[in-house]
């Protein structure tokens, strides 16, 4: 619709004014503060309502200050030349509106027939070009522009565009190019990490193979090592054994230095024989020594020699033996007789106690005198009690004891009794006294009784006889004794006296001894003769043996048996050494050769030590390898453990699923948005691209062909200069920017003019164009106004403009 008349009742400084507008374009001229902007605001206010009294809008209210009616009318003419009047006066909610179509008042909702459904904001955004809206050029983006143009293009398109916008935002919540925190991006990053982690996983098969190879290698090493160890162990054992044998070896070696050669070894036979011979010889010789001839012992010899020397005398003596025996017998008899007589005497004395040696035989007279014999018998008999006691004791002993003691005791008893009795008798005898007669005293009978004396006379007589006989006997005895003494002296001279007093016995003894000695001697001599025979035999034997022995000795160039012995013992010693060597060799065996490789025990020890070290090292290696094998096996077991890997695989699978789901969601959002746009594009007959094309044309026109194209590149405008160089909107000069803005705006409005046919309101207060640019813009306005009415308020008039298209506000106000 074309705005054909503006009638103001009261609005700002304007009251009760009206202007008719050209249908193509209308230039409104006036200096600053004349009310140009107020006029433009009036048009908007009538169409879309008065500004409210609240906030910043109140400055847009333009309530008249002179108290006239607030509001006014706009008159439009539609395509069918029908006049529409929109009247708005003071009222609630932007004022009271009255609309007339032709002469008919119509419902105020039909205002959309004029506004095309535009809101005030829409209108201001698209149709009003002033110093405020110019700034939006810098914020202008495709989406906004598209939304605006789409919004005009299709019913509900704005909602759709909002939906698309929301989808776009929703997509950006999932993913945004160059975004960082959106879930899809997080998933992608997570995926990279998981895949990287997976790549860090050792390839299981490779690891298994590697592990198997390692195991094989380790097993082989172990086997080799074990082999070596075995060898070394053997060596060690050998060396250790050698080491133990070293001392033996040393002694062996020393021994083996000794000369053990036997030039002429004594044969066993010879040796045995020589020994036997020697032994026999020794025995023989010994026997020879032992069998020295028997001899009489010195005593016997002397005895015999003496005899030989005095043979005649001694034989004489022997011949006189019976004579001597007779003499001896005679002597014995004499002594016997003497003894018997003594016994008789003693017996006489014993039976006549009073008898005394001094008593002499009384003469006859004297005997007479003694007729009256007076006898005083002093019969004091004293028993010898000790003897009797002893005898009693002996009796007791004889009774109770036995053997010799008994006999002894018996004898003592008898003797004791006899003695006691005898003593008693004597005592009785001796006690007779004849103290009467003097002669008696003289004759020794003092104290004796006459009877006794008388009695004694016989005794004395007997005694005298006896004594006489005794004397004879004694004389005889003396002669005999003398003879015997003579013999005795002879015997003594020849030393024949011995212990026995019996001289004849002495002779007998002597000759008996002699005879014994002679017998002995004879035996001896016989023996000696035999011995001598034997000795001779032995000597012969010795000689034989000696010859044999000498032969043997000669065989070994030995002089004596001792030499042979020495030789033998030497040889024996050597043989011992040889035996020892053999033994040692047997013990040492092959080790000898091995041992002799070592110059010293130290070398052997060193070698052993080194082997020992090697052994330890190998043992250690073996242990290490064993452990290694164990560890490889464990590791290989672990390779089978897929838990972590499987979890990773699960995580990756999950992650990829999530990624795809998010991608699908994102893509669906994106495509939905795109689809909506595309659909709207179609529905709006591609206004947007057409508009862009038109804008480019306008821009080229305004810039005198300096810029040939406008395009959007990621939400910012890019301008192509004639020389194809592209510029960003921010790189343009202020004037060019305004030119661009005007181009886009005009193109937009023209593009939707079939839907929204409202005048374009341009307030060039912001424009500081030079003349050329001003001309260009008027040229464009003229072109554009063919399709859409333009109302242009300016303080700069172009003289080329036709006057009928100019309203000079100065004139009006001057009215």
């Amino acid at each position: 619709m074309k705005l054909t008349k503006v009638k103001i009742y009261g609005f700002g400084k304007w009251s009760d004014v009206e202007w008719n507008f050209n249908r193509d374009y209308q230039v409104i001229y006036g200096n600053n503060e004349i009310g140009k902007t107020t006029l433009l605001t009036f048009i908007q206010s009538i169409l879309f309502g008065f500004a409210s009294a609240r906030g910043d809008e109140k400055f847009q209210q333009y309530k008249p200050k002179n108290g006239s009616n607030y509001g006014g009318e706009l008159q439009f003419v539609d395509k069918n030349n029908i006049t529409w009047i929109v009247r708005r006066v003071d009222g609630k909610n932007g004022g009271d509106v009255t609309i007339y179509r032709g002469d008919q008042q119509v419902p105020e909702t039909l205002i959309t027939q004029i506004t095309g459904g535009f809101t005030k904001e829409d209108f201001v955004g698209s149709h009003v070009l002033n110093d405020t809206s110019i700034m939006s050029i810098y914020k202008l983006n495709e989406e906004q522009l598209e939304t605006e143009i789409m919004a005009v293009g299709a019913v509900g398109s704005k909602e759709w565009l909002l939906t698309a916008d929301s989808l776009e935002k929703s997509s950006e919540e999932i993913y945004k190019a160059r975004g960082r925190k959106q879930p899809l991006i997080e998933r992608i990053e997570e995926h990279d990490k998981l895949v990287k982690h997976k790549s860090e996983f050792e390839n299981q098969q490779v690891a298994y193979e590697k592990s198997s190879k390692n195991l094989e290698l380790a097993n082989k090493q172990y086997a080799d090592n074990t082999q070596n160890l075995k060898k070394i162990t053997e060596q060690r054992d050998e060396l250790s054994s050698l080491n133990k044998k070293w001392s033996k070896f040393v002694s062996y070696r020393e021994l083996s230095q000794v000369d053990v050669s036997l030039s002429n070894p004594i044969s066993r036979n010879d040796w045995d024989q020589s020994l036997q011979l020697d032994q026999e010889l020794q025995t023989l010789r010994q026997n020879m020594g032992q069998v020295n001839s028997f001899k009489l012992d010195d005593e016997d010899k002397e005895f015999r020699d003496y005899y030989q020397a005095n043979k005649d005398d001694l034989d004489y003596l022997n011949a006189q033996k019976s004579t001597i025996r007779d003499l001896q017998f005679q002597q014995k008899n004499l002594n016997q007789q003497l003894n018997d007589n003594d016994v008789k005497i003693d017996s006489l004395y014993a039976s006549n106690r009073n008898c005394d040696d001094n008593m002499q035989l009384l003469t006859e007279d004297e005997l007479l005198r003694l007729n009256t014999p007076k006898t005083t018998s002093d019969n004091s008999r004293n028993l010898n009690w000790p003897i009797i006691g002893l005898s009693l004791v002996a009796l007791v002993l004889a009774t109770f004891m036995s053997g010799a003691l008994r006999i002894g005791a018996g004898l003592i008893f008898v003797a004791g009794i006899l003695y006691a009795w005898h003593e008693n008798q004597q005592t009785t005898t001796t006690t007779m006294h004849n103290n009467d007669l003097e002669f008696l005293d003289k004759k020794g009978y003092k104290g004796l009784s006459v009877p006794d004396i008388q009695a004694l006379q016989n005794v004395i007589r007997q005694l005298q006889d006896l004594n006489a006989e005794q004397d004879n006997l004694e004389k005889l005895l003396h002669a005999t004794d003398a003879k015997l003494d003579q013999w005795k002296s002879q015997l003594n001279d020849f030393g024949l006296l011995d212990s026995s007093d019996n001289l004849s016995e002495n002779i007998e003894h002597y000759f008996s001894r002699l005879s014994a000695i002679n017998t002995k001697l004879e035996l001896m001599e016989k023996n000696n003769l035999e011995n001598k025979q034997l000795q001779q035999n032995k000597l012969n034997q010795i000689s034989d043996l000696q010859i044999k022995l000498n032969n043997i000795l000669k065989r070994y160039s030995m002089r004596t048996t001792d030499d042979l012995m020495r030789l033998h013992s030497e040889q024996l010693q050597k043989r011992g050494i040889i035996n020892k060597l053999e033994q040692d060799r047997e013990i040492l065996g092959d080790d000898i050769e091995l041992l002799s490789r070592f110059s010293s025990e130290t070398e052997l020890q060193n070698k052993l030590d080194s082997i020992e070290r090697e052994f330890r090292s190998l043992s250690q290696q073996n242990n290490d390898l064993n452990r290694q094998i164990g560890s490889i096996k464990t590791k290989r077991e672990q390779i089978f453990n897929n838990t972590e890997y499987q979890k990773l695989i699960d995580d990756i699978a999950q992650n990829e699923t999530d990624m795809i789901e998010l991608y699908d969601e994102w893509l669906a959002d994106k495509l939905a948005s795109k689809w909506i746009h595309s659909m709207l594009d179609l529905a709006t007959e591609n206004r947007y691209p057409k508009m862009l094309k038109r804008a480019a044309h306008y821009f080229e026109l305004l810039t005198n062909g300096n810029y040939i194209d406008i395009l959007f590149d990621s939400n910012s405008l890019k301008l192509t200069r004639r020389d194809k160089v592209e510029f960003d909107v921010h790189e343009l000069s202020k004037a060019t920017t305004v030119q661009l803005y005007i181009s886009l705006r005009l193109a937009f409005v023209i593009e939707i003019s079939d839907l929204v046919d409202l005048p374009i309101l341009i307030d060039d207060a912001f424009v500081d164009f030079d003349r050329i640019r001003t001309n260009s813009i008027f040229e464009l306005i003229k072109e554009v106004s063919a399709d859409n009415q333009v109302i242009y308020v300016t303080a700069n008039l172009n003289t080329e403009l036709p006057g009928d298209h100019i309203i000079n506000l100065e004139e009006v106000s001057n009215d």
Binding site: A154, Q205, E656, W666, W675, M679, L682
Partner: protein, 392 residues
């Protein structure tokens, strides 16, 4: 003669989005590829087959397979004890690389090399069998490998093992006709996880994988037990998956609350309670636009899902999707504009060019390269628009 044709065991496949499940369930899931493999080898023994064919991708990857190798070694050894041979090729997942396969397999196992070769064997019924195949030695093979397969040899029965995508240039491309020209009796295919009989007489079969590995691998998985008798080849599918992925849905209306949705879902899950297997349900709530904003937010916060994850139900609710349908009255803009503009919007190259950084991600690139990607993303975008629009 009997044999087993199995493929894509994918041992050690990771399972995603299961962290809310109980530990034992997680473990069961992680072990499920092995459980399925157990079933394969167990069947081989009980059915007294002559041999087992593993047509590639036995391992999910070749990077860390020792435990899988040890497992297979044990199983193969068991098969050996039963006089059962194994014919194995490596696929694109477990393509042969240096250092891979360090565990020595028993001598009943034939592993094909990178050149096409034919292995011979005599089955228990005396049939002379030729088995032809090759292994992947790289991730992708664009050559026409089938061309290298020799023409039918002098065998009673000849089998071709082929790990390939039908018409898929990355994975030894082939056509059914090309296979037919070889004159083989049986083609044991691997690579495609959805089992399919491409041709009968002769048989050309994708055994599919033995255990569904994600929500896209729907349905019961298993392998084929093949019986050749009197020149007739009879195949029998043997299920081996102990977890079966299933996609199902409920429809929401304005009156629905979280509680009522819970009841609806419970009813749906109850239908899948089975003793043999466990179902993993991906559930779509259709008509989500009817739901109140709070209900939708609650669903988006996984409140429903978490509610089920703590419930000790036999059937497992894996994921919940909301499907928002377009309400033409609300849209207000002619459908033709949408349709017309969609051609430009869902352009694969434009999508690839949208963000270099994202396209630089291998994972995303592969995702984009999925043939169904555009279709998938278009559905998603529509859902997004529908949801967004009603949300405002």
């Amino acid at each position: 003669m009997k044999f087993i044709h199995a493929a894509d065991l994918h041992l050690d496949t990771p399972f995603v989005s299961i962290s809310n499940f109980s530990n034992s369930l997680q473990e069961e899931l992680k072990k499920s590829t092995y459980t399925a493999a157990d079933k394969v080898f167990e069947t081989a023994v009980t059915e007294e087959v002559d041999f087992v064919i593993l047509a590639g991708d036995t391992y999910d990857n070749t990077e860390r397979t020792l435990s899988a190798q040890i497992y297979l070694q044990g199983q193969f050894e068991r098969l050996r004890e039963h006089g059962i041979k194994v014919y194995l090729v490596y696929g694109n997942h477990d393509y042969y690389r240096n250092d891979f396969s360090v565990i020595k397999m028993p001598d009943n196992v034939t592993i094909f090399g990178d050149e096409v070769t034919t292995s011979e064997m005599t089955a228990s019924d005396g049939q002379h069998v030729g088995i032809t195949g090759f292994s992947y030695y790289q991730n992708h093979i664009s050559d026409d490998m089938v061309a290298n397969y020799s023409a039918r040899g002098n065998y009673d029965y000849q089998i071709g093992i082929l790990h390939a995508g039908i018409g898929d240039g990355n994975y030894a491309p082939f056509t059914v006709n090309e296979l037919l020209t070889k004159g083989y009796d049986y083609w044991a295919l691997g690579h495609i996880h959805k089992r399919e009989i491409l041709h009968k007489n002769p048989m050309i079969i994708y055994a599919g994988d033995t255990q569904g590995r994600n929500q896209n691998e729907l349905g019961t998985k298993g392998f084929y037990l093949v019986n050749v008798e009197n020149g007739m080849t009879n195949t029998k599918f043997v299920p081996s998956s102990i977890f079966v992925w299933k996609s199902t849905g409920i429809t929401a209306d304005e009156s629905d609350t979280i509680d009522s949705l819970f009841d609806k879902i419970t009813d749906v899950l109850a239908k899948y309670d089975e003793t043999e297997v466990k179902y993993l349900i991906t559930l779509t709530i259709n008509g989500a636009q009817h739901l109140g904003e709070n209900v939708i937010r609650s669903i988006e916060r996984n409140e429903l899902l978490n509610h089920f994850s703590v419930t000790d139900s036999h059937t497992i609710l894996y994921k919940i999707y909301t499907k928002f349908d377009r309400n033409p009255q609300l849209i207000g803009i002619d459908q033709k504009y949408w349709d017309e503009s969609s051609k430009d919007i869902f352009d694969l190259n434009d999508v690839k060019d949208m963000d270099n950084r994202l396209f630089g991600e291998e994972v995303i690139r592969q995702h984009i390269d999925n043939p169904k990607f555009i279709e998938h993303i278009k559905e998603l975008t529509k859902n997004t628009i529908n949801k967004k629009y009603i949300g405002d």
